[in-house]
Symmetry: C2
Subunit: 306 residues, 2 copies
C-alpha cells in the first residue's frame, strides 16, 4: 500500500500528526498516488470558448501543504494531457495560501497575469506563435471636477497640499473600483472641499503612460463639468492647502496653475460665452446588448432626431 493510500485512510487527526513528516517522504510519490488523496479531483477546470482551460486551485481539493515539487510534477503531467487535447491556454487561479504553487508553475513557463487581494492568476499560452491571451487592466482612472457657478463665472479650485504649492487645480482623485466617472468627480469634490455638486458633462481626457505613482501602468484622467448644489467651503486639510471660488477668466490666464487646468478654464470660459453645448460631452446610460448591464456613453450631444 502506498504512503498516500495509507495516509488517506487515516483519520484527519492522525493524518495531521503524521502529515508533515509523511508528506515530506511523500514528495517522491507519483501523481497517480496523489489522486488517491481524499477529495482531490485532479487539475480539472472549466474550458472556455477560445479553447483555454481555467483551473482554480481552491476548488480541486489539493492537499493544503502540497510541496512545490509534488505540485510541479502534477502540473507537468496535466500539461502533457492539455497539449494532447489541443488546449490553447491554461489559466491557474491560485489562492494566496497556495502561492508556492505559483513558483512551481513558473518552472513550466507560467507567468503572472494578475493578482487581486487573496488570489493570483497565472497563464500559459499553448497555441502556435505569439500569445493571443487578453491582458489585464492597464489604466488607473482619475477624475477631476470643475464646479462652475454660472451665476458668478467662478469655479471651485484647490491648492494641493502634497504637490507644487500655489498651483490651482480642480479637486479630484482616483476612481474607486466600479465607480462611474461622474460619481468620482462629485465624491472627490465633496471630500476635498465640502461642496456638494451635480455632474453635467465630460470636458476633457488625458492619457499618460508610465504614470508616476501608477505602478508603471497608464493613467486616464478625465475632467468633468459640475454644477454646485451648495457653496460653503469646508476643505480637507489633509489634502488641500487652500480652496476658493476663482473667476474662470483669471484661472485661464494665471501662471499659478497647471497647463491642463488653464486649458479647461478656457473651455469653461468659452462655454460661458457661447453655450456649453459647444464644449460638453454629455452622458447617457444604456444597457449592453448581451448582458443588459448598464454602461455610460459620452459624446457631443446631437440635436434630437427629427
Amino acid at each position: 500500500m502506498t504512503t498516500y493510500a495509507i495516509l488517506s485512510r487515516l483519520s484527519p487527526l492522525l493524518r495531521g500528526r503524521f502529515g508533515c513528516k509523511v508528506r515530506a517522504i511523500s514528495c517522491a510519490v507519483t501523481c497517480s498516488q496523489l489522486h488517491k488523496v481524499e477529495g482531490f479531483v485532479g487539475l480539472t477546470g472549466k474550458v472556455d470558448r477560445f479553447g483555454g482551460v481555467t483551473v482554480n486551485l481552491a476548488e480541486v481539493g489539493l492537499p493544503v501543504d502540497i510541496s512545490e515539487d509534488a505540485f510541479s510534477r502534477l502540473l507537468k503531467d496535466s500539461l502533457v494531457q492539455w497539449k494532447a487535447d489541443g488546449k490553447m491556454a491554461v489559466w491557474l487561479q491560485v489562492p494566496i495560501s497556495l502561492s508556492r504553487c505559483a513558483a512551481a508553475a513558473a518552472t513550466h513557463g507560467f507567468t503572472f497575469h494578475h493578482a487581486k487581494s487573496d488570489h493570483s492568476m497565472l497563464a500559459l499560452w499553448l497555441g502556435e506563435g505569439e500569445s493571443r491571451l487578453p491582458g489585464f487592466a492597464t489604466h488607473q482612472v482619475g477624475v477631476a471636477g470643475a464646479v462652475l457657478d454660472e451665476s458668478t463665472g467662478k469655479v471651485l479650485v484647490v491648492q494641493d497640499k502634497n504637490k507644487t504649492k500655489n498651483a490651482w487645480k480642480f479637486p479630484g482623485g482616483l476612481s474607486d473600483p466600479g465607480e462611474n466617472i461622474g460619481s468620482t468627480a462629485v465624491r472627490e469634490v465633496f471630500e476635498e472641499t465640502g461642496v456638494r455638486s451635480k455632474f453635467r458633462s465630460l470636458l476633457s481626457i488625458r492619457q499618460q503612460h508610465r504614470h508616476p505613482g501608477a505602478f508603471d501602468m497608464s493613467d486616464m484622467y478625465l475632467i468633468c463639468r459640475l454644477s454646485p448644489l451648495t457653496y460653503d467651503i469646508n476643505f480637507c486639510p489633509h489634502e488641500c492647502l487652500r480652496c476658493e471660488w476663482l473667476s474662470v477668466s483669471e484661472l485661464a490666464e494665471t501662471s499659478s496653475t497647471t497647463p491642463i487646468t488653464a486649458r479647461v478654464a478656457r473651455l469653461l470660459l468659452y462655454g460661458l460665452e457661447h453655450g456649453f453645448d459647444k464644449i460638453d460631452l454629455t452622458m447617457e446610460e444604456l444597457p449592453a446588448v448581451y448582458s443588459g448591464m448598464l454602461y455610460q456613453l459620452y459624446h457631443r450631444q446631437l440635436p434630437a432626431k427629427s
Copy 2:
C-alpha cells in the same frame, strides 16, 4: 556555533549539498541567525514620501529556498520594527520563484496588490483607520476606429466572427500596454481590414464595469474618427466574417448593428453635414509638468486665442 553560522562559512558547493537538509533543520533557527547568511541584508527597503516602505525580496539576499515558516518569522520581527518606526505601510515585491513568501506574508495580513509577469506585489496598511493605499489599474482600454471616407460618405465596418452575426461594427480591440488611443485605432483597423488610416479625433467614450471578459474589472471603450490612407480591403478571416465600406446614413438607420455603432454613425452623419468641429475631440500632445513625459489631451477644439 549555530547551524547558520557553520553554513555560511562553507564553500557554496558544500553549502549546496548540505543545503536542503540543513535548511530543513534550520527552520527552527532564529532570525538573528538568518542574518548571518552571506549576502542577506535583512528586510530592508526604500521609504517613500507617504511613510511606506517597499521591500524587494529579489534584492535582499534571501536564501533561495528559505521556508515559509522562516520567512514568516523574519517578517514578523520586521513588522514589529516597522510599526515601532511609525511606518504607514509595507509593500513586498516578491519574485515569482519566491512566491511561498507571499503565502507567509498573508498570515500577517498582507494581501495582493497586483502581479505582473515575474513578480507579485503585496501590501499591508499599518496606519490608523481605513487603508489609504492607492489601488492598481482598474480599467482595460479598448479602441474602435471609424474610418470615414468623406468623399463618398462611407465608413469602414466589419462583422465580427466571434459575436453576433450580421451586426456591423467598427474594427477595434484592446490597447497594448503603453499604446496611445489613436495608435490602437489605426493598428486595429489595419489588422482587421488591411486598410491604412490616420487618426483625426476622438468621438465617444463608453465606460462599463464588471465587463465580461475583463476579469471582473472595468472597461473604457473609445471610438475614434479616422481618415483612410488606402481603400482596398484585405480583412483578417480569424476575426471578421465580412468587411465593407457602408454608407453612414445606412449604418445610422439599420438594425443590423449595435446601439453604439448606430449612435456614432449619427455623429458622423452630423459631422459630414455640419462640420466635424461639431463632433470631434481633437488631440494635443503636451509635456507633463513634473516629469516632462508626454501625455495626450483630448477636448473640443477651441478657436485660436485672439
